[in-house]
């Protein structure tokens, strides 16, 4: 496979992931904010106050982790090590988002801090899951070409 074809394939995979998973998962928040803006001025607390972003972040990380776990290593130790590292990082992010979600529900006074944290964790999980998806695609290309790093 030529390098340009490989790059095109990866770009398409990345774009589909960004459009239909990352941006698509924010659609309910956009619709909700549009609906609320008809009646009053909308704040972040109104949209993200219930910890919805934590749930979305958890889902993104879980989906990318599932993709990572589906990689066929074919005795490629390097791909295997990187995959294990990425899965471990995904689990860490999932633990953080889950605990933060529980904090959001249990401690309403800390909502300002938690909303900032929700934005950060959403950015982290979106970025990290995109990297994981790209890595999965490369691993598949390497396996299909019979190349071991």
């Amino acid at each position: 496979m030529e390098h340009n074809k490989m790059r095109k394939k990866i770009w398409i995979k990345g774009l589909i992931w960004l459009l239909f998973s990352v941006i698509g998962s924010l659609l309910p928040f956009f619709i909700n904010s549009s609906y609320l803006s008809l009646e009053k001025k909308v704040f972040f607390v109104d949209i993200f106050g219930e910890g919805g972003l934590f749930l979305v972040s958890t889902t993104l990380c879980l989906v990318s982790m599932g993709e990572l776990m589906g990689i066929d290593y074919k005795d490629n130790i390097r791909i295997k090590s990187i995959t294990i590292l990425f899965v471990f990082c995904s689990i860490l992010i999932i633990i953080f988002t889950t605990i933060s979600y529980i904090f959001t529900l249990q401690h309403p006074l800390d909502k300002e801090i938690l909303i900032k944290l929700a934005h950060w964790l959403f950015f982290v999980s979106a970025f990290f899951s995109t990297l994981s998806i790209l890595f999965t695609e490369w691993a598949e290309i390497l396996n299909s070409q019979g190349i071991s790093l």
Binding site: I82, I113, L131, L134, F135, L142
Partner: protein
Amino acid sequence: MNDFVTLIYVVTSIILVVSSIIVFITYREVKKVLNERISAAKKINSEGSTVKYHKTFFTLVNNNTSNSMLEDLILAIFLHSSTFIGVQPKKPSLQH
């Protein structure tokens, strides 16, 4: 609570930086390996694996008994195998 939030910021920042570096390095290596393969394949196609393989073929034949049937057999095997792996060799001359 604040300690936990700080811990999350620190750990996730490290995860982002490390994973970005790993993915970038992997991408560069994949690109390098694929480019090497492409240039090697182009070289074989342009110069003709024919030259290389025919050299081997004639060396083999010259070092052994000059048997026309053997030559034909080896040549047939070579042509078929090279067609099978996708190389398009020019038909060589047996005049040597």
